[in-house]
Amino acid sequence: MSRKTPKPEPFSVWRLFCSVKLTLFLLLVIAAGSVAGTLIQQNLPREEYFRVWENGTANFFLRSGLTDVYHSWWFLGLMLLLALNLIACSVDRFPSILAAYHGQPDPAPETLKSQAFHRTFLLPGSLVEAREKARQALRGVFRQEPREGRLIYATRGAFARWGVLVVHSSLLVLFVGVMIGSIWGFKGFINIVEGTSTRDVVLRGAADDEHEHRRPLPFELHVDSFKVSHYDTGQPSDFVSHVRVLEEGRTTREKDLRVNDPLTYRGITFYQSSYGPAPQATFLVQNTQTGAVIQASLSLGEARPFDGGIALAFDGFAEDHNRMGPAFQIRMQVSGQEPKEILLFQRQPDFDRQRGDVWVVRVGQFQLKQYTGLQVAKDPGVPWVWAGSALMILGMLGAFFCSHRQVWIRLEEKKEGVAWTVAGATSRNRLAFEKEFQKLLEQIGAPEASKTREGKA
């Protein structure tokens, strides 16, 4: 695809966007930007950057978007420029690609002699015989234009001319897919305790987002059970959530959700992602002066006020803390007092008496359930992304490994026989075509001449 250096032209934005030099520049700058994004940790809380780097450097990183490279205005700008570059090049090259695809079915005699491969020779016999011989030699290898006359035109692999354009367009299809996904899709996650269900998901937002954004689901997702199995080394080998989709109280879908085996329902997909303990405990709070007992049932992470002006929060849990069995961390606030952090062990009901407080807490009933962590995604752009990817690979195969080959045979009746002009051209891979051209000449029975002269392309 070498293009002749054009004569100096006045500067124009259009020519700039048509230039391969701009492409080269953009590809390398995008690569450099991407490198920066892997060397500087992305999307950490602001303070982290000031802890690790000098103040000036941290400020520079934060202002220039180097802490979130792939979503920064300049990175997206470079992508946009690349897309414009692609579109401009494709539009600019389109007429010449179309012309090349059609080939040259009817060239002038001089054009034949200027082809990269050509040979002229004289063979005895009639014109009819010669035409039959030529058609025979080309059969099965080249597609021949059905035409009468003295010129036979045969071609193969013209589709290869579209390869580069297909690769470039595929990138645009991919970009469209990415945009569709970011406009109409969402990404989120949910942690659901076994035996419970959810009607909304927590959206993933920017790292500095203070609030949790939730998005309602158009149905209810219920987790019946969660199981994890382990290798003998203790590493998890498999984890499964048995989930049900409920609509208006009826089960409309049921599935064992595993890693690598997601559930898609009404365009929303749930992926098994993580799991963890979800203990539920009843804490017994006793007033040592009056003897009154308050029962407080809480699951991990829950905080609630109870009778008697007491509020409890269940903050932490360990299945086996210091080999003392299940341990619970709670926060208790008696009205009018500072909140107190309390550590409790199920196996030692009197542990909390050590604090010497009026209110003493112990663990009553306790049930260890699991929660399952699911990633949730809706991305209507995905089919576009796959279509773009498939097109890109097909286009590459066409552009890199297929060549458009053309052969012309012109026959002219002379009184000693027939004068042959055989010419050939290929869009790439001249070495392979040279062999093929030689073979064609042998089949025709061209007299052994000095090696086919190679002209300039």
Partner: protein
């Protein structure tokens, strides 16, 4: 016999092949050249046998996967890919003189457990995320691509050494044995033409898999990002060759840069950065 032992035998055979290729460069006798090629094919055969054996070991551990699951196995496959790409090239283009320059890459990869600390050779237990049919296709396409880029890098290095001496007419006997500088440039280009679709397919298969496992086809994880960087550099290489001024020397530098990025994507990311591909690490 344990597959690790067979891989070590393959390492020995490749070292022997390297010595014979070097002897060929010194003596320039066709007989020695043919011997070198034979030993190299033998090394490739032994590596293949080792892979088959390791697959059986996986089956015994009740894991129906090809052994392409951790850093050690990927290094073995990298060596296998390099040897395959090179040997096919040698056959197609009669390039025996290149053997001595390409095989060291395969040797370095096979010998990695001896110099990269913590590369374990035991049969791994696959975490749930790796239990996917996409695993093998993703790894195979990526690594065949890496293998092609490795061969391309050696070709461009040789181009950079040969081109100026060819122009000045100051070539030694070894350089004379190599294909012409233009041919080296052309071969490097063709190798990269093989590598780019493979890498592209590898990235796409990885994206398909990530979408199935995590619900995101692209998350700017360091491995993904570095694969993209490699892809961009080779895309630049292909475009550079269209622009006349970038042929030859500049293109060769880009091809080398591409392979340096490939190595970082492969090893640097696992050993130096953290991310979703952590199981490709030393563990």
């Amino acid at each position: 016999m344990n597959s690790v032992v067979v891989f070590n035998i393959a390492l020995g055979v490749f070292i022997l092949a390297e010595l014979v290729y070097l002897l060929y460069l010194a003596k320039r006798s066709q007989g020695i050249g043919r011997a070198a090629t034979t030993v190299a094919w033998l090394g490739f055969g032994v590596t293949t046998v080792a892979f088959v054996l390791r697959s059986f070991e996986f089956m015994l551990a009740k894991q129906m996967r090809l052994p392409l699951t951790n850093l050690y196995e990927s290094l073995l496959f990298f060596a296998w890919s390099i040897a395959l790409v090179y040997l096919l090239y040698e056959r197609k283009y009669k390039l025996r003189a290149l053997g001595a320059f390409v095989l060291p890459l395969a040797i370095l990869a096979l010998a990695a457990p001896y110099y990269i600390p913590g590369v374990t050779t035991t049969i791994p237990k696959l975490p749930p995320a790796l239990q996917s049919a996409w695993l093998e296709w993703h790894v195979m396409t990526c690594f065949l691509g890496y293998g092609a880029f490795g061969v391309g890098a050696v070709l461009s290095l040789l181009y950079l050494v040969k081109a100026p001496r060819e122009a000045k007419g100051t070539m030694g006997p070894v350089l004379r044995l190599l294909p012409s500088a233009d041919m080296l440039d052309e071969l490097c280009y063709r190798t990269i033409l093989v590598g780019v679709p493979l890498l592209t397919a590898g990235i796409v298969l990885g994206a398909v898999w990530a979408n199935q496992a995590w619900g995101t086809y692209w998350s700017w994880d360091p491995k993904e990002t570095w694969a993209l960087i490699v892809w961009l550099i080779y895309a630049a290489y292909l475009h550079a060759r269209i622009t006349r001024g970038w042929r030859g020397r500049k293109a060769a530098y880009l091809a080398l840069l591409g392979f340096v990025a490939t190595l970082f994507c492969y090893l640097g990311v696992n050993l130096l950065l953290s991310g979703l591909h952590s199981y490709g690490g030393r563990g």
